[in-house]
Chain length 522, copies 2
Amino acid sequence: MKTRRNRSRGTERARTPVNIAPPATGTPGGVYKPLKDADVQNIHAAALEVLSTVGIKEPTDTVRDLALEAGCIQDETGRLLFPTSLVEDVIAGAARDFVLHGQTPEHDIEVRDGHVHFATGGAAVKMLDSHTRQYRPSTLSDLYDLARLCETLPNIQWFARPVVATDIEDWRELDLNTIYAIARGTRKHLGSSIVLDSHVPEIIEMLDMMVGEEGAFRKRPFLSVHATTIVSPLTFAEDSSNVATAAARAGMPILSQTGPQAGATSPAALAGSLVQTVAESLGALVAINLVKRGHPVIASGWPFVADLRTGSFTGGNGEQALLAAGQAQMMRFYKLPTGVPAGMADAKVPDNQAGYEKALTTAMAAMSGPDFVYESIGMLGSLLGCSLEAALIDHEMLTSVRRVMRGIEVTPDNLSVDVIAEAARGAGHYLAAGQTLALMETEYIYPELADRDSPDSWKEKGSRDIWDRANLRVREIMATTFPDHISDSADAAVRARFPIHLPESAIDPATSHWAHDLDAAS
Amino acid sequence: MKTRRNRSRGTERARTPVNIAPPATGTPGGVYKPLKDADVQNIHAAALEVLSTVGIKEPTDTVRDLALEAGCIQDETGRLLFPTSLVEDVIAGAARDFVLHGQTPEHDIEVRDGHVHFATGGAAVKMLDSHTRQYRPSTLSDLYDLARLCETLPNIQWFARPVVATDIEDWRELDLNTIYAIARGTRKHLGSSIVLDSHVPEIIEMLDMMVGEEGAFRKRPFLSVHATTIVSPLTFAEDSSNVATAAARAGMPILSQTGPQAGATSPAALAGSLVQTVAESLGALVAINLVKRGHPVIASGWPFVADLRTGSFTGGNGEQALLAAGQAQMMRFYKLPTGVPAGMADAKVPDNQAGYEKALTTAMAAMSGPDFVYESIGMLGSLLGCSLEAALIDHEMLTSVRRVMRGIEVTPDNLSVDVIAEAARGAGHYLAAGQTLALMETEYIYPELADRDSPDSWKEKGSRDIWDRANLRVREIMATTFPDHISDSADAAVRARFPIHLPESAIDPATSHWAHDLDAAS
């Protein structure tokens, strides 16, 4: 019944050449700095001014009480104003250099200033179906499938829920099932929003049961909650703030998000949009730290862009690349763990538009050195859609982005003067040189999906574009990758205790609807 | 008969918003520096060592005689060794800050250190046909069509022949017809290789006739010759060297190229490949300057990459992005006008692979601040193929790349503290703010081909990917853009004097084979 299930075990590390597998510490970034040093100072000063004079409205009772105690004041309209000294104090004491856990230790990742990890993210409501190539509402099964796909993708080190399980209506069941499906699909660090703070204890109980040990989650918290504690402009969100408070108390790391759209919910001036994003990021950080000083927080301002002709969100543009990189630079200035979004194509299918939108925004964001690049694979349609094929293609692009980030190594040896002299005076080429053989697996990346054939060879092989090729590979992965880190007894216990909607047939390779695809593809 | 011909006149400037149209001085680059300062010095020193100890073999008689007179020596095998003092002297006296002319003055472009222009380039032998979407041999008509397309594309400021007219066998006729077709198709600065030095006088005679004035070309030389005077590793190419010598004497600017492939014709170590590329670039520069000191030269080393599994050229990878950016940084160190290649996708069609390969390599190359990014639009199949649709799509990507290059403007006003205070305390959004209305056309780019519709709207409009949309626009442009800067009498005189193969029917909107497409598309 489960003959294929074990195939996935650790395969991605074994199959990945040493030069491709990212270290647990991430890939160093920070080469690209869109802001001059003086501009960083100016944005910093303006953000502090906004926090101390405009402040943030509608704090929860908990945050308000803690804030007033810590020196904040409320103005006549009830806005919470943050004195600069408090903000600076929280920044100084914020958590840095911590570990985010996987379900198994080999998936632990280190958060260190300027070392970049790639993550998923999003809340798409549509899935570009692998079989019909049409959009349909996204489901819980899609979440499980996306998690399984990411289990095989070495560049992704944090699997945050990319789509919403639109087939589940009840909020409690949505939270439980979302987190069950992704925890079942991958052992990597997980991320998800949580609708209400009252769901947090049950979620932790479920995760403990999946591991098979009470208290396991608190020892190695392998799920971060994505909490948009501030909605733009400068307004506390009650439910998310309460979720963040509950998470901080339960030892659950927090991806603290704010998502202003330049021109719509933040200034149209990119600089001004950064000022607000920084102010909101710091305000959210203060609020969480007031609940629990030094709690692990990824202080993620996500400065988005609105198309000012329509007011709609647009993600695949140069302005977005600049804002993400600028925000990363600001958070690096504070040495605060941070993440920014990139790869959010406006294209509806994985076409040429998707490729350039994703590469431009992802490369610029990653080069600026945030700790995490979110949304980095799979997203289409301005975050409304998601695709397994797009995820696979984007993941290969990340390999190239990471190669660029690694840079050019210059040593006395690889300056190669002797190698040049020998080739120029001798063979007239370097194909058989010792250096070439020694470096071919470390200096170069060889893609799996990207085609390097000549036009004639490519035609002989069927004239497939990369979407076609990705589709074949997706079907293969989906039919063979069924992570088995959750024991059958633990799974049964979870299903007995909680209303799990993901059918057992979906997690069994013999009965998965993908099973027949493998035969079709081969 | 020619009713549609005038439609193209200056349309691209008129239709292009002020924030998109590139200035004649180019877009400032140089934000991205892949090499540390010390590495730049190390590569510089190694390149000078290679030039003085390994040197370049098989100089032409002209170059050899001038070089020996200038202090070079020949070693026992006949290799020409370049003393460092000579190289440094030539670098110091090389042409900088010059103008490259268009056929009409509004297309003149300024070459200034670190200001980036985008250009075409290449010598593809296959065209991805707009009607069949299959590859076929490229023709003279394709060259004319590509030139006409670029006439409408504001980001392209130098039109270098992207494809070879494979339908012309005779070398003299190939040179004359190539340059006729591109000069007929666009008023922008032109580039082409020339097979033999004996063709140079006739080409200039033809160009004078096209302008309608003897000596016109020497006054405003609007064609640069692309001369690969050195083939890698470190060997003078006789024919191209002679062409460069003839061009220098005739006042024709020279794009001096060298194209080593890392791992095949230059070291597999990226650093070593840069050492050789710099050495070859400087060697070629010295040879041309020995013929004519201070002649306008774009000292373009194009460090390419070989796939070391097959030995084949590959253009769309992270290593290529690093090499191009590194070479640009080296030439900026010398403050020498330079160009690097980017956008050379290995993909065979304008698919997702093409998009990410092009965006990654082009963004990194452009951000490093070369004077020119060549091959920047249209190229597919590792430079073997070209496509009008790809060119149009890539061109729109360049608009985003240029937006990123422009960066984030930080001023007291656009820090927006007051704007934030007003929106946060008032409307709760910025859609109607005065700043938003004031900045929406300058801070943001609105694409024409890239789709920002929702998945539902996009489906209602026909579910077209960007290749489909580009195809429609290409047909429209091809049916309506017939630049008329060459007078009928000049054209007749050229046709009487030279064996021009481009049929008159092709340059007449009424008889062009594209004419029926406009009706089909509308």
